[in-house]
């Protein structure tokens, strides 16, 4: 997989990706407003491997802001439901210490809307009610790529937990998948064959 050129990844104003969540679309509008260039889910970082070296868990931050060299992950689920995402973020930071990423929690996003006088939108844009469209990865692509299938399963699990507020297991998450995630030493770099500086990036389709 070739790494996308910076200019290719930096397209923002004018492009209209299909956002997985309405809150992401709102954040994109805010960034556009302030003329901060962004790319939507341009990169995927492998964060877990099985004993054969295959990637079994990945993390795709929602936005990349090329002028700031910053990734932004937006999660509008309730605080108690973001534990899995926090763990993924910790893992990403361990494996890719030179990657700058900021996590926006539901409260952060709510305060952002409050600042802009759009708090009324908050309930529409947070939690699972803001789920505007299904996850963007095409089903056929997911079927070809077990990594993405795992991510989709994890997303589904997140969403279902938030909706029904149940502790019943939903879809299989990376944690419960029957593959052993390779335990890399804390703070250790990703194996050379498994990623470049920022891991094996995966270019997402535009629509």
């Amino acid at each position: 997989m070739t790494e996308p050129a910076a200019s290719d990844r930096a397209a923002s104003v004018g492009s209209a990706p299909s956002f997985a969540h309405a809150s992401e679309a709102e954040l994109a509008r805010i960034l556009d407003f302030y003329e901060v260039r962004w790319a939507y889910e341009p990169d995927t970082f492998p964060i877990g491997w099985n004993l054969d070296g295959d990637v079994v868990e990945s993390f795709s931050p929602d936005f990349y802001l090329p002028d700031l060299d910053l990734y932004v992950e937006l999660t509008t689920l309730k605080q108690k439901l973001v534990r899995k995402k926090n763990r993924k973020l910790r893992r990403l930071r361990e494996l890719y210490p030179d990657v700058h990423i900021k996590l926006f929690y539901a409260r952060d996003f709510r305060m952002l809307l409050l600042k802009f006088g759009r708090l009324a939108l908050s309930d529409e844009l947070t939690g699972t009610t803001g789920q505007a469209t299904p996850p963007r990865v095409a089903v056929d692509e997911a079927a070809d790529d077990p990594t993405i299938a795992v991510i989709l399963a994890a997303r589904d699990a997140d969403a279902e937990s938030a909706t029904i507020g149940s502790s019943a297991p939903a879809a299989r998450s990376p944690e419960t998948a029957p593959v052993a995630a390779a335990a890399l030493p804390s703070g250790g770099a990703a194996p050379a064959l498994r990623g470049r500086r920022r891991g094996r990036r995966r270019r997402r389709p535009a629509g």
Binding site: R29, I30, L31, D32, F33, Y34, E35, V36, L68, L70, V72, K102, D108, M111, L112, L114, K115, F116, G117, R118, L119, A120, S122, D123
Partner: protein, 188 residues
């Protein structure tokens, strides 16, 4: 008869008293005066929130400075709905080319507005451009921009007063306080 409304009843905690603010503004003024002695200083303030801070700060800087004012639309504002882009509502009234510019802000949280303004002002070729803010809320920061003069670093709470508003109210409070959540969640 005009009914008086006590805006302070909407405030939970007082974060910064009038005295604390005055002391800090005086301290900032002394530092700025020392740093800019013998230079062509122009203070640029961003309406409307920075107005009280600017008014107090400039009187604490005993230098032959100039002032100028800008106003930019903010996301969600009525003036901006049509374009979807930030817009300069009021531009500088004079050139700042070769001037030492100090941008005076009331609060920096996400850094989005500041990032836009810094790029805009740099395009006008000042001799230097620095930033002074009364309040800094780093927990909200999205765009990291070095800030040269910071009055107070404040916690992640919604604050009003001393120029800061909610729905254009509370700017005239003489202190900075935390707005009670029920004020902005009413009718939510």
């Amino acid at each position: 008869m005009i009914r008086s409304i006590d805006l302070s009843t909407d405030i939970g905690d007082i974060l910064l008293t009038e005295e604390q603010i005055a002391d800090k503004v005086a301290e900032l003024g002394r530092r700025i005066a020392a740093d800019y002695a013998g230079r062509n200083l122009t203070l640029v303030s961003v309406l409307k929130g920075s107005l009280p801070f600017m008014a107090d700060l400039m009187r604490q800087i005993p230098l032959p400075l100039r002032i100028d004012l800008m106003e930019v639309s903010s996301y969600g504002g009525a003036q901006t709905e049509s374009s979807g882009l930030v817009r300069i509502i009021k531009d500088l009234s004079a050139s700042i080319a070769e001037e030492d510019v100090l941008l005076v802000e009331d609060i920096i949280d996400t850094g989005l507005t500041l990032n836009y303004l810094v790029r805009y002002l740099r395009g006008k070729n000042p001799a230097s451009l620095r930033i002074c803010t009364l309040l800094d809320k780093p927990a909200r920061r999205l765009v990291d921009i070095p800030v040269d003069y910071v009055g107070f670093e404040i916690p992640d709470q919604f604050v009003v007063g001393y120029g800061l508003d909610y729905g254009e109210r509370y700017r005239n409070l003489r202190f900075v306080g935390v707005l009670r959540p029920e004020v902005y969640t009413e009718g939510d």
